[in-house]
């Protein structure tokens, strides 16, 4: 079945303690090449039937109202290849 992915990330100006904790741990484990980490959410949605433009619009509305909190988060919607 077709799958639509919604990626939700904190807005760049919002503090991301989760990403910070990971970024601080990496060098301690010897991973020095990663300079910055931001952590967000990924939703894999399985939609009913074909992925029409209407479906995408619906997912976008769902992302806006439920999956992401627009006050602090941005999101992107894409169809999984």
């Amino acid at each position: 079945m077709p799958r639509v992915v919604v990626d939700v990330m904190l807005k760049p100006e919002i503090l991301d303690p989760q990403g910070q904790a990971v970024a601080a741990a990496l060098p301690r484990l010897g991973f020095d090449g990663i300079v910055r980490v931001r952590q967000g959410k990924r939703f894999e949605l399985t939609v009913d039937g074909e992925v029409t433009d209407d479906r995408i619009a619906e997912v976008r509305r769902a992302a806006e109202t439920l999956l992401a909190n627009p006050v602090i988060e941005d999101f992107t919607v894409r169809v999984e290849p």
Binding site: K11, E13, I14, I72
Partner: protein, 754 residues
């Protein structure tokens, strides 16, 4: 180009956006007079934020003075009003600090983060006094339970408080969950924190000792909450002169409880090694507040190199760094010879610490940004000599009609038969207002730290302070917007006496008071009248009860559109128990114990839960306040606990005797048979909300001593029944199984919130 003091002198006529920053024209003029020139954009930022209602208390100051003026004669106050939090002597060399604060508006915008950062802020206040934070309480108010927005706000707020407090390792031991339509667009999220220290560990926010260093430590500074502190200042700096960038700034702060946990442990080690001279948390108004208050409190001067502040967002301009409300930061004054050790302790806890300034004796606060002077002000004028207003007051036009609308039997139909009483009780027990709150409190860790002796749903939270002696403290918070609406003077006192009674019910001696005054707009004379009356009532009440106000917080502009919330003073009372093993629990646990009702019952249903839940009615007068009766009742309850006379005690409040009995039965897992005193109307006896009352359970062998004690103190006492079986029976009226009560009591929250 940076707006320097030099440039300010050279361009006196430059237009400045003071209005958009919330400053009135005469306030702006006063700043110019103080400085003898126009302020730089950084100075304007500082003054605007520090002279905001939130920071300067400009509308409330003239009223709050009564707390000091009417302070009862007492020597328990080690630190009084005016510091981050008051400090109370609880004996044996221990001191306790406690304070309540609001985070109402942020919690509406983003419930989880708003509530979480509210907890973070009050914890830093307590920490800055030198204390280890040991407990949290969270008085909350929301719109109608079934409103869709309440389903967004309430779960978010509760998860946010739990998410932050649990991660800090602070037990949440009390609070309130109240619903009223007036809070629909404006929930109240108040948070109280209690901290414990030895007398000698008290710290003050003072930048003493010229040559000492100003160390900023904790999280890096980002663009959080800029302008958020001055409630009126919706304008950003985009239009202002200077380096203010136009980048997007977050309107919401995100808390990092892990960073705060490290900050707590770091501070406690710094205190233990005596490495700080003075300390201040960064809350509202951020560095503007911390630097000006530290210098002003000490009467010294200070110089700050603002470009040394570690940033999370390199694009911040100097005004923004000064105003940022980034969380989890503290500012300490450190002797140069201790600096190295200070930094080592900070490193141990993974806390970033940076010297950003130096104390001097110039009497001025000067701030440079990349070698340019951007601030040069007398710190007192920023921190303590803000504007003070005597706002007009006006008794609301509708007040007389409201008070005249008594909930008489004639006006509101009362249940007459036993069956009606029973049905009324079951409906009320299952209403969210009176229902079991464990859906909320189960999300809070009440065990962490291993010292929690009582927590929700007990009358007050009790934590042990000293494991060897059993010394401990009790804390309770209460507020009743309906009572306060009907009579703000009495309403504030009723909040006080309820918290006082709750503390005494556990066996603790009430000692001190904190308060959070949640009201509408101070520019509305009718709101201001409510506020003034409430403060007067609270100050008078504390004076008569002999317990001082040690601090608090004012939250104005709580309104949806132009409709203010119910006036809601929330009062926290702290008490002490010499031995927490003597605490009195709420639950009826032993079959055969005799049940007594202490205090006098009158036909008092104005503002009651019954009138609200059964009729949607608010009118009449709230229950009569009798401070002497409250004090006598408290003395009896405390003495009874000390002498081991009572098995259980529970005060009477919302919903009256009926609800108190249900709660005591459910908590203890028993039933009770009740015989209402002769001549009492069953409905009034069960649902009236007369104050100064409590129910106690006494083992048969102690019955006489108990009665004697009450009689000796002049507290009315009536034996009303016995702990028995598995049903609550009110003789000649109705019987209802405890299981049925439990099902009704427990169903409300899960049904609403999942």
């Amino acid at each position: 180009m940076t707006d320097t003091t030099e440039r300010a002198t050279a361009s006196p006529d430059l237009e400045q956006p003071y209005g958009a920053l919330g400053l009135a024209e005469d306030e702006y003029a006063r700043i110019r007079t103080i400085l003898g020139r126009r302020p730089t954009s950084s100075e304007l930022a500082m003054y605007s934020v520090m002279w905001s209602e939130h920071c300067s208390y400009k509308s409330s100051k003239v009223h709050l003075r009564q707390f000091a003026e009417k302070k009862p004669d007492t020597d328990i106050l080690l630190v009084g009003i005016g510091e981050n939090a008051g400090v109370v002597d609880i004996g044996q060399g221990y001191a306790v600090t406690f304070k309540i604060e609001s985070h109402n508006h942020p919690s509406y915008v983003e419930p989880y983060q708003g509530a979480a950062t509210g907890v973070g802020g009050i914890v830093r206040d307590i920490l800055s006094m030198g204390a280890r934070p040991v407990a949290i309480a969270d008085p909350l108010r929301f719109g109608p339970p079934e409103a869709p927005d309440t389903a967004r706000v309430l779960p978010g707020v509760v998860a946010g408080i739990g998410g932050y407090a649990n991660c800090l390792g602070l037990p949440t031991i009390g609070g309130e969950v109240v619903f009223d339509p007036s809070y629909a667009g404006n929930p109240l999220v108040n948070a109280l924190c209690v901290g414990v220290m030895r007398h000698e560990d008290i710290k003050l926010a003072k930048a003493t000792g010229p040559g000492n260093l100003v160390v900023l430590f904790g999280s890096r500074t980002g663009g959080d909450g800029i302008g958020g502190v001055s409630v009126l200042a919706s304008a950003t700096f985009s239009g202002s002169e200077g380096t203010g960038s136009t980048a997007k700034r977050p309107s919401v702060q995100v808390g990092d409880p892990f960073a705060e946990k490290l900050l707590i442990e770091c501070c406690l080690q710094l205190y233990a090694e005596d490495l700080v001279v003075g300390i201040q948390d960064l809350g509202g108004a951020g560095l503007s507040c911390a630097t000006s208050e530290l210098a002003s409190n000490a009467g010294t001067g200070m110089h700050v190199w603002l470009d040394r502040v570690p940033l999370r967002d390199a694009s911040l301009g100097c005004e923004e760094i000064l105003m940022s409300e980034s969380q989890e930061r503290m500012c300490a004054i450190v002797e140069p010879r201790r600096l190295e050790r200070f930094l080592a302790v900070a490193r141990r806890w993974d806390v970033t610490a940076t010297v950003i300034g130096e104390v001097n004796d110039t009497g001025r606060l000067t701030i440079d940004f990349h070698d340019e002077r951007i601030v040069d002000v007398p710190p007192r004028t920023v921190a303590h000599e803000g504007p003070v207003y005597q706002r007009p007051l006006h008794r609301p036009a509708g007040q007389d009609a409201l008070v005249a609308d008594e909930p008489t039997a004639h006006r509101l139909a009362r249940p007459g038969t036993g069956a009606e009483l029973r049905a009324t009780l079951l409906r009320m027990v299952s209403s969210p207002e009176l229902a079991d709150k464990s859906w909320v409190t189960d999300q809070y860790d009440r065990y962490v730290q291993g010292n929690t002796v009582l927590a929700a749903p007990e009358d007050a939270g009790v934590v042990r302070v000293d494991a060897h002696t059993g010394l401990g403290v009790a804390v309770a918070t209460d507020g009743n917007g309906r009572y306060t609406m009907l009579d703000p003077y009495a309403g504030a006192q009723l909040a006080l006496v309820e918290a006082y009674r709750n503390v005494a019910t556990t066996g603790a001696v009430p000692l001190a008071v904190t308060n959070c005054l949640n009201f509408g707009s101070p520019e509305d004379p009718e709101v201001m009248w409510q506020f003034a009356e409430a403060v007067r009532g609270l100050a008078d009440g504390c004076q008569t009860l002999g317990i001082p106000v040690t601090g608090g917080n004012v939250s104005f502009y709580n309104q949806t559109g132009t409709t203010p919330i119910l006036p809601t003073p929330v009062v926290g009372v702290l008490g002490v128990l010499d031995d927490v093993a003597r605490r009195t629990p709420v639950g009826f646990r032993h079959e055969g114990d005799m049940i007594f009702l202490l205090g006098q019952t009158r036909d008092e249903l104005g503002g009651s839960s019954w009138a609200h839940l059964e009729h949607g009615h608010l009118g009449g007068r709230p229950p009569r306040v009798d401070l002497d009766a409250e004090r006598e009742l408290a003395e009896v309850l405390v003495a009874a606990s000390r002498d081991g006379l009572v098995e259980a005690a529970h005060d009477l409040s919302n919903g009256g005797l009926a609800i108190t009995l249900v709660e005591a039965c459910l908590r203890g897992g028993t039933g009770a048979r009740i015989v209402l005193p002769e001549g009492v109307d069953p409905f009034v006896g069960l649902f009236s909300e007369s104050a100064a009352r409590a129910v106690v359970a006494v083992s048969r062998s102690e019955e006489l001593r108990r009665r004697d004690m009450c009689v000796a103190r002049g507290v009315p006492v009536a034996r009303i029944g016995v702990v028995l079986g598995s049903a609550l029976e009110v003789q000649d009226q109705f019987i209802v199984a405890v299981d049925e009560l439990r099902a009704a009591h427990q169903s409300a929250f899960p049904a609403l919130f999942g």
